[in-house]
Symmetry: C2
Subunit: 179 residues, 2 copies
């Protein structure tokens, strides 16, 4: 089954945006192999806010390959041509997409969609690019996660800029354990 | 000059305690070299809450070597024999202690003291033991940090349990830069 992988840049104190929406702290690392990262995916999950922000950029975020896009929103009634709107029953829809043939699915954000999918147990892997900065304030990546989630470390990579890439798979939630 | 090093266990989502004060998620890693860690220090900085909690344990936290202890509190009037109470002017007192001869100083916590010393620019290194768990809620390590702080990655270590140790030195705050 295809995996849903949360892949984001985060400050050491867990923010994905600075207090005024800044992204200047997470410039792409010259040594980071984006092609290898991108090559794993053919599909992207995007929340409404991220969609609205990135659709202001012509052709989506710069440098991204062409992914099949799913936009998650209860507010929107239509999305751009070629993209698919997921309006309700996230669990059923995501499980259906995961069962389709294809490469893995990149959960690109934002924080709201991440929380929803995390609490529904629909995320299979976390791939965090931890930047060497404390932002102090901003938008936290993890927010309102209901239950403790145990992780299994899959990989760490360290870059000369001080970026550390941490990849984890998600174990079952504590309260779903049978032991 | 002696360094002040914040050395703590933290969940991947940045908590130092679970929502009900739990520490069960950060059991000491059998492969972690505590002796090497402890050997770097002869002095420990402790906040009031951590002091009150740890002084309930006989002889302080189990397995700790004998450190010179400084307790930071505006509320307490006295502390146990052998420990020193720092009641006011944290900046002056800490700068004085840092200039004394000795090994480095372990900032053991808690969150309040960490924030104070961070905002006063008195912490030289962060040594985070990142446990492979999302707690969802609890007491955050970093809270009310006023300004963005750039970090320099010094070392990463990965353990078979999934623990990742990340060590950073603290650069000057953004607003203290002269460029």
């Amino acid at each position: 089954m295809r995996k849903v992988i949360l892949g984001v840049a985060v400050s050491l104190d867990g923010f994905i945006e600075g207090p005024h929406g800044e992204y200047d702290w997470c410039a792409p690392d010259p040594d980071y192999n984006f092609n290898e990262f991108f090559d794993r995916f053919d599909t992207i999950f995007v929340g409404r806010k991220t969609y609205e922000m990135s659709s202001e950029m012509e052709g989506g975020p710069a440098g991204f390959p062409k992914f099949k896009e799913y936009i998650f929103s209860t507010k929107l009634d239509k999305v751009k041509d070629g993209a698919t709107l997921i309006k309700g029953d996230t669990k059923t829809e995501v499980e259906k997409i995961k069962k389709e043939k294809g490469k893995d699915i990149w959960l690109f954000g934002g924080a709201g969609l991440t929380t929803s999918l995390m609490n529904l147990g629909l995320i299979d892997e976390l791939s965090l690019a931890v930047y060497p900065v404390l932002l102090g304030r901003g938008k936290p990546l993890f927010n309102n996660i209901k239950d403790r989630i145990n992780l299994t470390l899959l990989e760490t990579k360290t870059y000369s800029t001080g970026l550390v890439s941490l990849t984890y798979s998600l174990a079952k939630k504590e309260n779903e354990r049978t032991t």
